[in-house]
Every structure is written in C-alpha cells, then in structure tokens.
Symmetry: C2
Subunit: 152 residues, 2 copies
C-alpha cells in the first residue's frame, strides 16, 4: 500500500475524504520501471489504474493489426497525470499501449478493487468518474487537434 | 419536457430508476433541426446534453484558428448516441462542433440542470458519469485509430 497523503497531493484524488483516500491507498503500490517498459498493453484486460509520479510516458497505438509492433504516437503522459484509465471504464480493455520514455516511478492501483469501491461508495464513484471523464475528454480534445492537423 | 419512457429506451439512461428518469425528463425537450444546422459549437460554453433520436451528425474541428471555418471531420454520431457530452464534464466547453448531416430529431437536456441533479443525487451522478466516461473513451479510441491511420 501507499500513504493516503501521497494520493491527496494529486488533483485526481483531491476531492476525496480521509476514509476514501485510505481505502484507495490500501489497494495501491508504488513501482519503478526502466526506460522502454510497457506499462499497459493495447487490447489487454485493463487491471491497473496508474498515477505517474516521475518520468515521461508515450501512448502508442499499433494501427490495430494483429501482432503488429506498436508504432503510432497518439499521446503522452506527464507527471501527476493518470494512465490506464480504461481500468475503471467499461469494457475495461486498454485502448492503447503506454511505454516509458524514461525510467519512471508510478503508483499502481488495483483496477477491480477500485471499481468495487466505487460501486459500494457512490459518492467516491461520482468523484472519480467525474475526474476520469475530464481526463479522457482532455485527451480526446488533444487527439482531435492532432487528427485535424494530420488531415490538413 | 419529454416522457421518462422515451429516455428509458436508450442505454445511456437505462440504469436509472423511475424518480431519476422523471427528474431528467423535466429538464429535457424534443427538437428538430434542418440539414446543415450546427447543434453545438466548438469552444462555446457547453449548456446542452443531446441524445440523437433520428438522423446523422458529424463532429467537426476548425483546426483551432480564430474565426476559421470548421473543416476537419473528427467523428460522427449515430441515432441512440449522445453528443454535447462536454456539457456535463469540466470545464464545460464544447471541444468540437456538431453539424447535422441530414434533418435530425434530438432530445436536448439542460446541461446546468443535469449537473445540479448529479451533484444532489450522487448515485445518479455516478451512473451518468460512468456512462459518459464510456462514451468519451469509445470516441477517443475511434479518434486514435483515425490518427494512427492518418500518420501511417
């Protein structure tokens, strides 16, 4: 587990109360990955919700071909941002891969445990869903801008 | 207002109870727009959450230039799907424009009223946020695929 105080520092978790932060901290672990590691893999079951503490992460997409090497950059994640958000959004399948661009330090939360907590505590569910929806919308906005530029 | 039974038929609203559907129906209206109408406008305050009943809608993006004509197709909406989802996701600004490709029939829900209802009834807030997050993630997935193809 991690300290609830660690989570509290980040905007994604800042609207939660002490009890809610403690519950999330119990299903979270801090981890380190080397440069080049794949933190999450496209089309795989989404079981980890990840807070990036240090380092840079690229979101890459294979183009959908079976077994193809990931190749198209479709986004990037900066420290303080979340990745693996598909772990708490149906159908719980990662839509892209996340590759460490540098050595990274992260907090990994157990996706099924977070889903269960949100189901039991609907207020926590509302707050986290509101935050995750805002994060995905922001990423959609960025991706639309990139798509419009690529097609211009 | 519209009939709560009308809303109940659509997946976006199907997990809500009678009281919640009745509350949403009270802040909703059915409307028709001609082909070519702009249902929502990029960068404008997002005050309408829209369920498309009939017709086809394109999501278009200007490329971000001040006063530029909308020009890049970044998505499309089919009957039964929601648009204007930015109306219930912070910062409540539309990220693209929605243009009717055919005559369309829609249900328009008052965005600020829906936000207020979700704030008061956190269970409704959780359900709608869960559904809207899934809708935005699906659109992000589609847009990433298009971006990867455009860059290939």
């Amino acid at each position: 587990m991690v300290s609830p105080e660690l989570l509290r520092r980040y905007p994604f978790f800042s609207s939660l109360n002490d009890e809610q932060l403690a519950a999330l901290a119990m299903v979270a672990d801090e981890k380190n990955y080397p440069k080049g590691a794949l933190l999450v893999k496209e089309n795989q079951p989404a079981n980890k919700l990840i807070l990036l503490l240090e380092g840079d992460v690229d979101l890459v997409y294979s183009g959908g071909e079976e077994g193809s090497v990931v190749n198209a950059l479709v986004g990037s994640i900066a420290p303080g941002e979340m990745l693996g958000v598909s772990s708490i959004i149906e159908p719980y399948i990662y839509i892209s891969s996340a590759r460490a661009n540098t050595p990274v330090r992260v907090v990994e939360l157990d996706g099924p445990a977070v889903r269960a907590l949100m189901q039991v505590d609907k207020t926590m569910g509302y707050v986290l869903m509101r935050n995750v929806a805002a994060a995905v919308l922001e990423r959609l906005k960025y991706t639309q801008v990139e798509l419009a530029a690529a097609r211009a």
